[in-house]
Symmetry: C2
């Protein structure tokens, strides 16, 4: 990058990239339904493929509850690496929050609490990520990456292990390596 | 447009383009502070330029209150023309909702109520509209239009009467004329 070039722009998904939502989702399900599903059981599948939603209606309710997002852990190294990215790139947070409209406020508060360096101007709640004008999108959802115009980076998650065709990162250290080690 | 081309994409702002927020904002201010400010008084100005915010603190509170957005009128002809636009273009709604984070739910409900033909996938709450990948943005805020990459269409509002450099539309009939009369 020449000094005069504007910084490249990276969009970062929230669920399963910045926030560990699967762990909490499984914990609530296992607690309420006395089951013992693990992340390993979700390899190559979404949770909906493993657990019949019609017999476990709370599975969807968890995502809509006010306190679900509030308690999610930050993915390891995400805060430090995202802070470094902001020094060299323009970073936007892009969540498909329209899928769960009741999550808006909780997601906004979670970001303000755990990532205070991100200005409100650089947060996007959307549905279809083809609307994002950016150079990169880091996302665990291959459907969103396929629609995105730019380079899609697939963040490793149990449901996407069989997905090909994108650069895959398994954690934030690999994000750091890809975007920053050449800086 | 050739039959095989994908439809062009239009982003449409909410406040002052789809929803008449100034009328309600002025009504609440005039009621609470026993004043009589009209839209004409706002020519070339934002309401903050006319009324000192430090002496009228409710002016900001109105925008944050749960019921503010819920009661806003739809701009004349917006529903019919937007429905026609959807037949020829891909239409996204793009609101700078991050400026008033407490407005997310009210804005979402307002859209569902008045514009049920817009799928959740095509709603975007953002801050900086340079993040939008679209061919057109219809917005009353010249600051957003200047950052947008694509053709900005300025929707007429009291505060922007002196703004030059964009195609100006004064109502939804002019939007219809610009986008659809050649169809």
């Amino acid at each position: 990058m020449k000094k005069s070039d504007p910084p490249k722009r990276i969009c970062v998904d929230m669920d399963e990239v910045m926030a560990d939502s699967i762990t909490e989702h499984l914990a609530r399900y296992n607690r309420d339904y006395h089951d013992n599903i693990t992340k390993d059981d979700l390899r190559g599948k979404w949770i909906w493929d493993v657990v019949a939603i019609d017999r476990h209606p709370r599975l969807e309710e968890y995502l809509r509850s006010d306190d679900f997002f509030a308690v999610l852990d930050v993915m390891p190294d995400a805060q430090r690496v995202l802070g470094r990215l902001q020094q060299h790139y323009e970073v936007f947070i892009a969540s498909a929050a329209m899928e769960v409209p009741t999550s808006f406020n909780a997601k906004y508060r979670w970001l303000a609490r755990h990532f205070p360096s991100i200005p409100a101007t650089h947060i996007v709640f959307c549905g279809d990520k083809s609307i994002l004008r950016a150079d990169y999108l880091i996302d665990d959802n291959p459907r969103q990456l396929r629609r995105f115009v730019g380079e899609g980076i697939l963040y490793d998650a149990p449901h996407n292990i069989a997905v090909k065709g994108f650069r895959r990162v398994c954690n934030w250290l690999e994000i750091e390596e890809f975007f920053l080690d050449k800086k």
